[in-house]
């Protein structure tokens, strides 16, 4: 092994005998093999002939889509590799057998959570400042969805952590832009507003921004958040804070809010950004693994809630994907699981799971796709045209 002086800010050099593309292919093949062994799924290329999607307009009108970003990025060795499978029992044994699993999703953009999530939501590799509360530079999936399908603002929601994500719902691009996108709910702001002056019992739910642990901006809630609580979620402050006391992490709070939104607003497009796994930036491996296990449970719980909700059962497609991976143990410039800064193959290569309505069950696809392909795929499924997206629809989903 070699070591390198180079560390560009946070980037580094992997002195590997293999090129990045070959490492990415190996990661993809490994995921396929692990899934086949653990979840009994089939290889998708043999099943490409008939599309399971129903294309009728009436079906599209009822179609609901939920996207979960798998909180902060997790590596194969803690998830889909044999040694990691104990951390994701629900994804592996409950969701994977029902899903189309894409083993080779690459993110060619900037590996910061806000900018990468914005890229996922626009279908363009955004270049905005990861740590600024600025809107995405291109129209979001929510704007395309609402404008093309003439949907009200109540039909597209984002549940997100607070690091700048309050602007993720819409761009400033004409003819889209302000007022045309998703409504954004920030559960931590909500809780902060609801517990003004007495947050002692809730501090564990207000953890913020692991990406820059030295800089944790204060979270402040406001009247607007309290209105959301009472008018939209139909929750009294007392009920909300009582329930919050029973939760153990910010992502649990997010899923609680998401379920409440499903119950009260039943949005057709719901986007949930998980964040707990990013505690990895603190360098504590045990906390990172605990967060993966929690996220695994929360994804399965949310899918269960979909099945139990008459507005969603039978007409919902769920997408679960990390915004990107994390650094390999073997990249000399990184520090393994702790960050996602090297730009190596492990940090750029992830996976996506799609399940529910219109999705083939128990199938694995190896063909490379990019994270920016999600938006055009959602457009094709739901019937809108993301014309500024630079990705392309995933043919296996059409």
């Amino acid at each position: 092994m070699e070591r390198s002086r180079f560390s560009l800010g946070c980037e580094s050099i992997a002195h590997s005998a293999l090129g990045s593309s070959e490492i990415a292919r190996q990661l993809s093949r490994s995921r396929r093999e692990f899934l086949r062994d653990a979840a009994g799924v089939a290889l998708g290329t043999a099943l490409m002939s008939a599309s399971p999607f129903v294309r009728a307009e009436s079906a599209r009108k009822k179609r609901k889509v939920i996207v979960i970003t798998f909180g902060g990025g997790a590596r194969d060795q803690e998830t889909f590799a044999p040694e990691g499978q104990e951390n994701i029992p629900r994804l592996l044994h409950e969701l994977a057998p029902q899903s189309s699993f894409f083993t080779h999703v690459t993110n060619q953009g900037i590996l910061g959570h806000y900018v990468a999530t914005a890229s996922l939501a626009t279908g363009v590799y955004e270049t905005l400042n990861n740590f600024s509360a600025v809107p995405p530079g291109h129209p979001t999936v929510f704007e395309y969805f609402r404008k093309d399908l003439k949907r009200p603002s109540s039909d597209a929601w984002v549940v997100a952590p607070s690091n700048g994500f309050n602007r993720i719902g819409e761009s400033e691009c004409r003819p889209y832009g302000p007022g045309q996108g998703a409504r954004v709910i920030l559960p931590k702001h909500l809780l902060s507003a609801a517990t003004t002056g007495s947050i002692t019992d809730y501090e564990h739910l207000l953890r913020d921004n692991y990406e820059t642990p030295l800089y944790a901006p204060q979270i402040a809630g406001s009247e607007v958040e309290l209105q959301q609580l009472e008018m939209i979620l139909k929750l009294s402050v007392d009920d909300f804070t009582s329930h919050a006391r029973t939760l153990s992490s910010p992502d649990e709070l997010s899923v609680f809010i998401a379920k409440r939104l499903m119950q009260e607003e039943a949005p057709s497009l719901l986007w949930i950004t998980m964040h707990d796994i990013d505690i990895a930036h603190s360098g504590a491996y045990s906390l990172y693994v605990d967060a993966i296990r929690r996220t695994d449970r929360l994804c399965a719980d949310l899918w269960k809630a979909v099945q139990a909700n008459p507005e969603y059962a039978g007409n919902t497609t769920l997408f679960i994907l990390p915004d990107f991976g994390r650094d390999s143990d073997y990249d000399a410039g990184g520090n393994g699981f702790q960050h996602h800064r090297t730009g190596d193959a492990a940090s750029r290569t992830t996976w996506m799971m799609a399940l529910g309505t219109g999705v083939r069950q128990g199938v694995v696809y190896d063909d490379p796709m990019q994270s920016i392909d999600l938006v055009p795929s959602l457009g094709a499924i739901m019937g809108f045209s993301p014309n500024q997206s630079q990705g392309k629809p995933i043919r296996e989903l059409l």
Binding site: M1, S12, A14, L214, Y215, I279, S286
Partner: protein, 400 residues
């Protein structure tokens, strides 16, 4: 400004030895592309406060660059010259603020999708340099020792999962006097092969009794320094306009004196960087120990490195951890053991990145208990020993 315009007076603000070094190689560094040079200056500007291994590496690299013909120089740096940088980067004070330049360059390369090209150029350069400017052979086989699980209850899970295939697992270690024996063995090596910053003892808690022949860094002893730093951070983040990048720039300017450290200036700077550049080192002792081990190997190329992990505080909200306000700290013993188990794996990986890795040895011991794993050229890989063994015998097996 571009490298070709460099003059000796441009290095006036550099510390004395760094300035002399730059001026001695001025003709050669004028030939270097701007996409490359500041990363070299970032190291060179700190030359006066670097460890001997780092100084040697900088000297070898500069000597190699100076030895290249014009055509060789073009060939070596071709990948870097293909990168385009912004006029703002060219105008920045990359001579005196090379670290800030490199950060801004990184952001620019990410945003212009040139990062992969940079990685490729740097990788090729690194391989060429490693082949052309080989370091001297090391005087003894490198030895890493990780002591994990201080105070942990008996653990039900599997330890050393990542390391087992590389060495021999011992399940019946007699723990008596183990810590003292390991520190004594490290001390013996330091006495037999004395060299500055070559033999280290890192403790994630309060350091145990040890010889002054070992360079020691401990989390507990840096407690006042950490408190000053966390107060500084709290003050800074309340300033209007302060954001993560601005804070990082401010932290990069802190000196040992700013944080109340005195004594050895080289070690002092090293400790400041551990706390200002390491993520999580300020709040979790396990992260501190792991990161310190990484940096002691990467920078000082330690020949002997004892790392003893200690229990870290339980997770609390980040704001609370950073405020350092709570009077009663609860410890997470099992979580810390898992952190340390992974930390010891990273210790070994970082050791294997250094020259002589084929002959190096490594030992991880679950402190006060009966499990250990030993890696050495003489020991079988992926093996298990069920024989009872004491720590002294274990040491002799690894480095005997």
């Amino acid at each position: 400004m571009l490298p070709r315009d460099l003059k000796p007076e441009h290095f006036a603000a550099y510390p004395a030895q760094a300035k002399a070094l730059m001026i001695a190689h001025l003709d050669a560094i004028r030939e270097l592309p701007l996409s490359f040079l500041p990363s070299l200056l970032r190291e060179a500007i700190e030359y006066d406060f670097k460890f001997p291994a780092e100084r040697s590496a900088i000297e070898r690299e500069l000597a190699n660059i100076s030895s290249l013909s014009h055509s060789q120089s073009i060939e070596w740096f071709h990948g870097f010259t293909q990168l385009s940088l912004s006029p703002a980067l060219e105008r920045s004070d990359w001579i005196n603020l090379p670290a800030q330049f490199v950060e801004q360059e990184a952001a620019y390369l990410w945003s212009t999708h040139q990062l992969d090209a940079f990685r490729k150029a740097a990788s090729e350069y690194g391989l060429r340099l490693a082949a052309a400017a080989r370091p001297d052979p090391i005087p003894i086989r490198r030895w890493g020792i990780a002591i994990i699980g201080q105070g942990a209850p008996p653990y039900e899970g599997v330890l050393f999962r990542n390391l087992r295939k590389h060495g021999t697992y011992f399940g019946r270690v007699k723990p008596d006097n183990g810590l003292a024996l390991l520190l004594s063995a490290a001390n013996e090596r330091a006495k037999l092969h004395p060299a500055p910053y070559a033999h280290w003892y890192v403790d994630g808690g309060q350091s145990a009794e040890h010889s002054s022949a070992l360079t020691c860094v401990s989390y507990k002893e840096l407690e006042p320094t950490r408190a000053v730093l966390l107060n500084y951070i709290q003050t800074e983040i309340k300033r209007p306009g302060m954001g993560p990048e601005e804070l990082r720039t401010h932290l990069a300017k802190l000196t040992p004196a700013d944080l109340g450290l005195s004594g050895d200036p080289v070690l002092g700077r090293f400790q400041v960087k551990l706390l200002t550049e390491g993520s999580g080192t300020q709040i979790f002792s396990t992260t501190f120990a792991q990161w310190t081990a990484r940096e002691a190997l990467r920078r000082a190329e330690a020949l002997t490195l004892v790392v003893r992990f200690a229990p870290r505080q339980k997770q609390r909200p980040m704001n609370e951890l950073l405020s350092n306000a709570s009077s009663k700290i609860e410890l997470d013993y099992v979580g810390s053991l898992i952190d340390a188990d992974m930390g010891s794996y990273y210790h070994w990986i970082n050791q294997q990145r250094l020259p002589g890795f084929e002959q190096s040895s490594f030992l991880v011991w679950l402190e006060g208990q009966s499990q250990a794993i030993a890696i050495a050229p003489s020991l079988p890989r992926g093996a298990e020993s069920n024989s009872e063994i004491d720590v002294a015998k274990l040491i002799s097996l690894v480095v005997g």
